[in-house]
């Protein structure tokens, strides 16, 4: 029988089918972080349970740790230090590998899970973080869970679930100049809504996806959750195998060859049936930015905020009114030229080396506009070290950006920091929710290049019109 990529991975992990239609699914890897990892491990212990296989469990510090240079365990998060110390102690007690603050392999979970090849094609990887879908870029199932399910996975190495429906999103043709994976996913969500993928695992495919480098594929899959998808994934190819080769936990030698032979089957069969299909022409995608308080409030950089009479119904008009009231904008307004107070490059969406390079190409020889707070938080120590080695860090600093230590940072005022009430921030992150980056802060999501261009101009700008110096 023809199978999709998702079928092949899922079916190979079914431990047993239960009477109620759900299945127990084997989980290959579990990644913890300090926001909930210590809570889960403590709760497990209080219930008299143990971690079934600690060698498959990893932990890092990213959600609460701050990102100031010279940081330690103290953070601006109320009570934050206790989360960090609890994560450290419970991980050590349970025999779990912890990539602690200062470790050269430290960073945001989804970055380091890939960088170290802890996630491999065909694996199921769970983490109590909704952006675990990022790892689908490796041809794995990245499964975001809550704390209770995290305890379940710790104790049983399984999760209990119903198999989701499946949606194929095909991006045909090539992307235009200056268009990135971030623009692809914002375009998709803008067109099909923030609940457009609900109940479905989404396979991204097509020429424009095949042409993306691995960093960009992580960005594309990262925001599958903003589409309400169960997860997002991409069939592994030679780029994937080249990315994995020789990373810390990657199989070696003969075993790696055997893996590749197996992984080449991880693709949807030509006749495989999907519950739904969406096709998008890559040439139709412009650099994309959000104007409102949901990722579905996305428009082309040179587009306009919707007019009230363009919308389908009263609910949509009420949604528009509320979003625009929060954002301090008007219907029909263009975003180009809109002054910004802050610019942030970071997060599990866009904090990889190629993201930083894209921003640095525009920042080189230029300065951040007066009065703008610009911050770059590399996603991992590995990215930070590489960026410093190739001179990118200096470009950011010379331009007037703060250059931070790795972590989730200002994506959601992790580390206790936020932008100010009413401040308008252009951000390479994934959520423009009300208050996400600070109470009453107004967030516009965009690609790193668009963020860099706005930081230089002091207002929202089409990065394509800014040529490298």
């Amino acid at each position: 029988m023809s199978k999709t990529l998702f079928d092949k991975i899922w079916d190979a992990h079914v431990v047993t089918k239960l009477d109620d239609g759900s299945v127990l699914v084997y989980v290959d890897r579990l990644f913890l972080h300090e926001r909930t990892g210590g809570v889960a491990l403590t709760s497990l212990r209080e219930d008299g349970r143990s971690v079934r296989n600690p060698t498959h469990v990893f932990a890092t510090m990213d959600h609460i740790v701050d990102t100031f240079p010279g940081r330690g365990d103290t953070t601006l998060v109320p009570g934050g230090e206790l989360f960090i110390k609890t994560m450290r102690k419970t991980a050590n007690d349970a025999g779990i590998t912890l990539f602690d603050i200062g470790n050269p392999r430290h960073g945001i979970t989804h970055l380091i899970s890939a960088e170290q090849a802890i996630t491999l094609p065909g694996l199921i990887v769970a983490c109590p973080d909704s952006h675990t879908c990022t790892l689908g870029a490796l041809g794995a199932i990245g499964w975001g869970i809550g704390t209770s399910d995290c305890e379940h996975a710790l104790a049983t190495e399984t999760l209990r679930a119903m198999k989701p429906n499946q949606l194929r999103v095909r991006f045909d043709g090539s992307l235009g100049n200056g268009v990135t994976a971030k623009d692809m996913i914002l375009h998709l969500i803008g067109r099909h809504g923030a609940s457009g993928g609900a109940g479905h695992a989404v396979e991204f495919c097509g020429q424009a996806v095949a042409e993306l480098d691995m960093d960009a594929r992580f960005t594309l899959c990262n925001m599958a959750v903003e589409f309400a998808a169960f997860t997002g994934l991409i069939a592994p190819d030679e780029k994937t195998f080249a990315y994995i080769a020789n990373r810390a936990y990657a199989p070696r030698g003969e075993m790696f060859e055997r893996c590749k032979a197996s992984w080449r089957n991880l693709r949807s069969d030509p006749e495989a049936a999907f519950d739904r299909e969406i096709a998008i022409d890559g040439a139709d995608i412009a650099p994309t930015i959000t104007w409102g308080t949901s990722p579905q409030h996305a428009i082309a950089i040179d587009g306009k905020v919707p007019e009230r009479d363009e919308l389908a119904d009263d609910d949509a008009r009420a949604d528009l009114d509320q979003a625009l009231d929060y954002m301090g904008l008007e219907p029909g307004q263009s975003l180009l030229g809109l002054p910004v107070d802050g610019a942030f490059i970071g997060s599990c969406t866009n904090s990889r080396l190629s993201d930083l390079r894209a921003a640095a190409r525009l920042l080189a020889g230029r300065k951040v506009a007066a009065g703008i707070r610009a911050i770059c938080t590399p996603g991992s120590q590995h990215v930070k070290d590489a960026a410093e080695a190739e001179g990118i860090a200096k470009v950011f600093v010379d331009a007037g950006f703060e250059w931070r230590e790795p972590g989730c940072s200002l994506c959601f005022h992790a580390g206790g920091e936020g932008f100010g009430p009413g401040e308008r921030v252009i951000s390479s992150t994934n959520r423009n929710f009300r208050g996400r980056q600070g109470r009453q802060t107004r967030t516009h999501l965009a690609s790193p290049a668009t963020v860099a261009a706005a930081a230089i101009a002091g207002c929202i700008t089409d990065a394509r019109e800014l040529k490298p110096i």
Partner: protein, 208 residues
């Protein structure tokens, strides 16, 4: 976990789409290394007034602060309730505040799972049904209560309308029995052992 079979309570409407978990509890309100005591941070951005970052009191306009809705245990909302961050604190905060049931057009997947794991019932109904629930309760929320019956999968509105809903059989079974998911799965420990032994031969690279 407490069993859930029937619940009768006061309905409060938050009829907007995409109520994300950052709204349900902002990350700055998740102050304790614990699942308890989070009710105070529930809907903090909406429930309180602020000057800068400092709370200055209750926002009387917010539905859960209105006397008419005091003691509400059932929330009515729109599409994609609980989308966004996986933080189970959102459910712990709702639970701590006293919410038992959320009726919405659809839910974020992780949030819905988290509800079931904590004895909260997340019910999906069409917008028209939620409209009627709201219309029939709004005039006098304290007396016009709604009965949610998980044994029959029905919502009884004050005027006698009955709305049928479906939940996953798995969650229904666990909620009705107040069962613990981990205990339940551990009954299949030998299946897990067998799977791992066979899988280790099939995919040796997956085992560290």
């Amino acid at each position: 976990m407490n069993a859930f079979d029937r619940h009768s309570g006061i309905c409060a409407p938050i009829r907007i789409d995409n109520v994300d978990t950052d709204q349900i509890i902002p990350s700055r309100e998740m102050k304790h290394v614990s699942k308890h005591g989070l009710g105070e941070g529930l809907f903090a951005n909406w429930r309180y007034r602020y000057e800068g970052h400092t709370r200055t009191g209750a926002n009387e306009e917010f539905v859960l602060n209105q006397p008419a809705y005091a003691g509400a245990t059932i929330l009515l909302s729109g599409r994609n309730f609980g989308c966004g961050s996986s933080r189970e604190h959102a459910v712990w905060a709702l639970h701590d505040f006293g919410i038992k049931v959320i009726i919405a057009e659809s839910f974020g997947r992780i949030f819905m799972n988290n509800c079931a794991r904590n004895g909260l019932l997340a019910i999906e109904l069409p917008a028209a049904d939620i409209d009627r629930l709201q219309q029939q309760t709004n005039a006098s929320p304290q007396t016009r209560t709604v009965l949610v019956d998980l044994t029959e999968c029905r919502v009884h509105a004050p005027d006698g309308d009955v709305f049928e809903f479906t939940v996953s059989e798995s969650d229904r079974h666990m909620l009705l029995g107040g069962l613990d998911y981990i205990d339940y799965t551990l009954k299949f420990a030998s299946d897990i052992e067998r799977f791992v032994a066979a899988d280790r031969r099939r995919r040796p690279w997956a085992y560290l």
